[in-house]
Homo-oligomer: 232 residues x 2
């Protein structure tokens, strides 16, 4: 399974690339510029060493080559990025949006959010992509800084919302390959209207306690991952 990380030169995208690469996955970093994408891939291979399988190219080529496409870009540029890769993401592919609609996108505060017209950033992305693309939303509660620091034990869980249970589980399997990281099935894509905003609450907590990587661990069950009996 080939994975693309669109916006893979940014903090969160690069961190996700490192973690997935370390877990043995083939990751293609996408960037607005093919050179920057290739450069980030070289840097990732250098950090991971050994036989890490990381390539880098343009967003378009990365999206075309991959089976699962992660999109880790700031909300301000999110719609443009999706329009730019629309033709390369064929129906049936799984796209995992990691965007939080922080108010910084319009000059506001990182602990405030704005409300996308479609309800969530992920639903906005879905409205741009071709019909039949299987949209998932995740990673809003994971600090990009912590993802990049491979020695940092990831304590926060990944909340996964998505259009169908199988797509959520496919993304979930990639997540649980990353040591310490757990995923929790949070149901329909529209629930991203909630999970995306939780990033801003974590910013409030970080500010209050002067820390950098507050997160949320889901309680109520010993283990998470694929729910006992999944219904699409």
């Amino acid at each position: 399974m080939d994975i693309a990380v669109i916006g893979g030169t940014g903090e969160e995208g690069f961190g996700l690339t490192l973690r997935l690469g370390k877990a043995g996955r083939h990751v293609i970093i996408g960037s607005r510029s093919e050179e920057k994408g290739a450069g980030a891939a070289a840097k990732a291979r250098e950090i991971l060493g050994g036989d890490a399988s990381i390539d880098g190219t343009s967003n378009e080529k990365a999206a075309e080559a991959a089976d699962v496409v992660f999109v880790t870009v700031p909300y301000a540029g999110q719609a443009d990025i999706y329009r730019s890769i629309k033709d390369q993401v064929a129906p049936g592919k799984i796209v995992c949006d990691c965007t939080s609609p922080l108010a910084t996108a319009v000059g506001g505060r990182a602990w405030h959010v704005i409300r996308p017209w479609h309800g969530s950033a992920a639903e906005q992305a879905k409205s741009i992509l071709q019909k039949g693309v299987r949209m998932v939303a995740a990673f809003h509660t994971i600090s990009g800084e912590a993802l990049q620091d491979l020695d940092h034990v990831l304590e926060s869980d990944v909340l996964v919302c998505g259009m169908d249970a199988e797509a959520r589980a496919t993304v979930g399997e990639l997540i649980q390959d990353i040591p310490d990281l757990r995923w929790v099935d949070c149901g329909d894509l529209s629930s991203a209207r909630i999970s995306e905003t939780m990033t801003a609450l974590l910013v409030s907590v970080n500010r209050a306690y002067k820390i950098h990587d507050a997160g949320f661990r889901v309680t109520g069950r010993a283990s998470w991952g694929k729910p006992p009996k999944t219904s699409a």
Copy 2:
């Protein structure tokens, strides 16, 4: 310090009463009917035994007698309840709203929310009460069922938003008196726009995994409670 729990005959309110009573606090249960309030208090004293200090009366009288007023009512009736206690809640008192604007209030689903005009249910409550009342919002991630079961170890943290740091810390001190329960300062009252909706996400998780008390534990720090240096 006298504490009122408005709507204290409901699952969450009664559970909160039991936990606070067990921690040695004097709690006044408020109900629409004075008799029902008194009846619930008798039941609580019976459960707690010993010298538990629980009284019960009308919502109005409970609100008047208390220094800190918790309001645990469904969103459908929340505005009416606040109007009914408005005259009894003098400026300077602390009110902790525990309402989540679940779509069930208008016949919808418990895993969906509706958007109150003021941004959050807590801000709506603030708009109804007298100027100078110190509004706090908390307990949206704690299951009422779990609160009522005194043998149930509470794993979820209480996310506390509020108008000023001192009011948040006052509510926080009551929370940390309850064994196992931790509180996290989540900043301004407007952040309740996020924390209130997290109840609906927990309903999604409960549905997916067929459980009853999913919650959130905040990660990134060994302990929470009052932030190192609080700014109002």
